[in-house]
Symmetry: none
């Protein structure tokens, strides 16, 4: 379970050191490398087994459903195996840096089963809007509108 927020900086070449507290759980037994995945406005980093479970669910969706097909394409195209080097760093490919709008300063956030990598400005913005809507979100979830 990943938790907390860390302000880190990226190499000019796109190398980013993973917070120490995350490394153990992230690499697991080291069998297969973690996965770096493109999301709408940020990147996500998964332990191999967690992502493969997620991927499994994508594959189980109907290939006749255009939406499912789109979803599959988006994630398949935007995901990359991402080994952690001996100094605890990952290399973020250029096209993912671009999509997530990452520059030198980034935020590495623990979100339970995943690690998220954000541009600071986008992150702050997202958080503030979340805070504003927080009570409504809680209410609607509490009422079982979703779940």
């Amino acid at each position: 379970m990943f938790r907390g927020r860390h302000d880190h900086t990226m190499d000019v070449k796109g190398r980013l050191s993973i917070p120490r507290v995350f490394r153990g759980e992230l690499v697991g037994d080291g069998e297969s490398p973690p996965m770096l995945v493109n999301e709408k406005d940020h990147l996500a980093l998964f332990p191999a087994n967690v992502w493969s479970a997620e991927e499994q669910r994508l594959m189980e969706m109907s290939s006749l459903d255009p939406d499912a097909q789109r979803l599959r394409r988006f994630y398949a195209t935007g995901s990359v195996p991402c080994p952690v080097d001996s100094q605890g760093r990952i290399l973020v490919p250029g096209f993912l840096r671009d999509h997530a709008g990452l520059e030198k300063n980034v935020i590495v956030a623990g979100v339970l089963e995943r690690i998220e990598i954000w541009s600071p400005s986008r992150f702050e913005q997202g958080q503030t809007t979340t805070v504003h809507g927080l009570e409504d979100i809680k209410r609607s979830i509490n009422q079982g509108v979703r779940s």
Copy 2:
């Protein structure tokens, strides 16, 4: 069950002593450390088992629901394990201090299953608005509008 209000002060480095009466229940058997959690306008401190139950509920929400995802991100990113040192103090990370607007003087309040940490001004303000709206709150709860 935590009760009562305590005016304490924080270290320049963010160390804060927990009221004596809270310590026993807070650390429990000491297996896993208490959790310090960011809330909208204050911080909350939980015995490990209490927070992990809460976290469990977060994880069970659909990862396809954007609102659930936001909620998860908010709480996971804003929570950090928070061991109590040998002198009964915790260390409050800088980013949580900022979010809660904490400075030197803080209020440590017992709120049944949780301990809350407030900036004095925000606390007072919250209390007064609660007092004003008290009757309405009671009414709507009584009507089962929530929960």
